[in-house]
Amino acid sequence: MVLTFPHMGKMYIPAKAFFEEMGIETVSPPPVTKRTLELGTKYSPELVCLPFKINLGNYIESIENGADTIIITGSCGPCRFGLYGIVQKEILKELGYDIDILILDPPREDFPKLMENLRRLGEGKDFKTVSRASRKAAPIVMMCDSLYELGIYKRAREEVKGDTDRLLNQFEMSIRHTHGADGVIKLLKEYKRRLRAIPEKKDYEPLNIGLVGEIYTLIEPYVNLHVEQKLGLLGAHVDRSISVSWWVRTHLLPDIPLRIKEKLILRRASSYLGLCIGGHAWQTIGHSINYARGGYDGIIQIMPFACMPEVVAQSILPSISHEKNIPIMTLTVDELTGDGGYNTRLEAFIETIRQQKSENRRKEKSYGRV
């Protein structure tokens, strides 16, 4: 069995480490590129959402590199994601690929099936191996997100534009040649140290922008046209409401404090949206309110074109923007790779907020004098 999985941001780093510790041979898909998108759109239903197409492109590129088994998480709806694995399996079969897809559905849906899939994945590995591998790989999820969070912090404040990205790019180049959890952890630590050493501008106060929206487009930089990087280079500090470690901590680990916190955030959304309508629309609303309360300067919602749950959230956001007095902009991503339009919107969004802020500060000062 040669295992592969679809890309989702830096998820491949802990995933790779975990399976390597398990002793399962894995192929990480090559980074998402034009070719991935082309392969994906060629074989996907035209109207399906973008993440589906990128997934499919990832699979095909991994299969070309020798993978024969794909592992993905599932959900039984209510949005289109619930059908991803099943439809993708059919498409790959029709294309003549002889592969296995293991869909890990949430335990409450079909527990015996989930156990069977996990057993097949484990391939006779004993419980000790699995638990050892999980214990070793779990911190990598957090460490990886924390490295990139430091990157976000540094990028907004770096003295020499591009320092942060050059370093993070080097990191990604080296991670491909690293094997096993220990090597990955060592590399993560090394780059965190080097990242910390990047000189910062003095007395610079970046704007704080919250990112909300559909999980895949939020996390995968190729798909969201590197929105975090763009905002960072415009001098804004970005907080992403959803990350891989967030997902792991709220879905796989018994992280009670975070789960309670998330529940409270969702409860705050109740006057706008009081239930899960699929995807992460509920989180989008909840986190937007949370950002507004937290004194953020602006919010950007990102979603794939025609994403059902996020379209609902999008229509609610103007009320939040109005009532909580916080600028909110929605960006829809699709197969576009020309990012001119996005640059314009992001630049204008940041500039508008910045001007408004300095105007408010000026007013405050002059009132203070009276």
Partner: protein, 320 residues
């Protein structure tokens, strides 16, 4: 008489490229409105050549500002002092000439935007999301399909007595609706009026969604020349709409104003000069194979000298 300082504003849009020359009293001396025709570099070179011949003798260019979707490119070629997004450029131009503006409606070739201004600063904006229905290029296309010169397209709507309903949400729907109505025997003026109303309805529902549109409302961008659209806006918003004198080049004008501010502060301009613009410009693109990201890198050369590169994510080629 001392030499006179001039400022260049360049707005490279999807459909048209606008270049203006203004003096230090913000008076527009030259106004070029040319189709981009998908070849921004050649068009810029050609218009600069024409322009340099028309300028007063004792004048010099004291600042250059670029805006529009091709602003980076135009900025690299000219050596711009300011490279700014269209929202800021349009907002600044409107505020300079009509300081009491509260709402700016701008409809250009491929973009339509709304800019909300309160107390003289931009507080909010929105741009069309995915579909270009209702923007200049769509109207252009319909005008040529109906064989009506674009200049007369809007005026035709004024003759309409019974406008037909056209679906405005999607360019494909709108076109098929128009064709259907035309085959049913409706008059061209009624169809044109119907289209104008549909586009305005779409604009207000899509771009203007949730925005508080207060007077003074200023309508600018190439489409502001279209009387049919202007009237439809006035009917629907129940307010007067101001179309500024230089409505078609407001972006370029804003860029020039920003360039003046910048050079006043910096004390000198980075403008490369008209002579250097006559040199050979080449733009080539290649796929970097340094890592699996395979970025598309664009390289702009003047003669043999590389003046700009962009498109790379990692900063290796100097862009990002």
């Amino acid at each position: 008489m001392g030499e006179c300082k001039l400022y260049l504003g360049v707005d490279v849009g999807s459909v048209s490229t606008n270049i203006i020359v203004m003096d230090s009293d913000l008076k527009v001396l030259e106004k070029h409105y040319i189709r981009t025709q998908g070849r921004p570099i050649q068009i810029l070179k050609k218009s600069f050549k024409e322009l340099s011949g028309n300028l007063p003798l004792n004048s010099r260019i004291a600042g250059v500002g670029c805006t529009g979707s091709g602003r980076e490119l135009a900025g690299a070629i000219t050596g711009a002092d300011v490279i700014k997004n269209e929202i800021t450029a349009h907002g600044i131009a409107t505020l300079t000439f009509l300081p009491d503006t509260k709402t700016v409606i701008e409809i250009g070739g491929q973009d339509s935007k709304i800019i909300i201004i309160r107390d003289g600063i931009i507080t909010d904006f929105a741009m069309n999301t995915v579909c270009a229905a209702g923007t200049g290029s769509f109207i252009d296309r319909q005008a040529s399909r109906l064989n009506i010169p674009i200049e007369e397209f809007g005026e035709l709507a004024e003759f309409s007595k019974a406008p037909v309903r056209i679906a405005g949400r999607c360019a494909v729907f709108a076109e098929s609706d128009m064709i259907h109505k035309q085959q049913m025997g409706h008059g061209v003026e009624d169809i044109v009026k119907g289209l104008c109303v549909a586009l305005v309805r779409n604009y207000l529902n899509n771009v203007g969604k949730g925005k508080e549109i207060l007077p003074r409302v200023v309508f600018q961008g190439g489409v502001a020349a279209n009387k049919g659209i202007k009237n439809a806006f006035e009917d629907m918003l129940e307010t007067n709409i101001t179309v500024p004198e230089h409505y078609d080049v407001m972006g370029a004008l804003g860029a020039a104003i920003l360039a003046k501010k910048e050079t006043d502060r910096a004390g000198c301009t980075k403008f490369r000069g008209f002579d250097s613009l006559e040199e050979d410009f080449t733009s080539t693109s290649f796929e970097c194979d340094g890592c699996p990201n395979m970025c598309e890198v664009v390289e702009i050369k003047v003669g043999n000298q590389v003046v700009a590169r962009w498109g790379d994510r990692c900063g290796k080629w100097g862009g990002s």
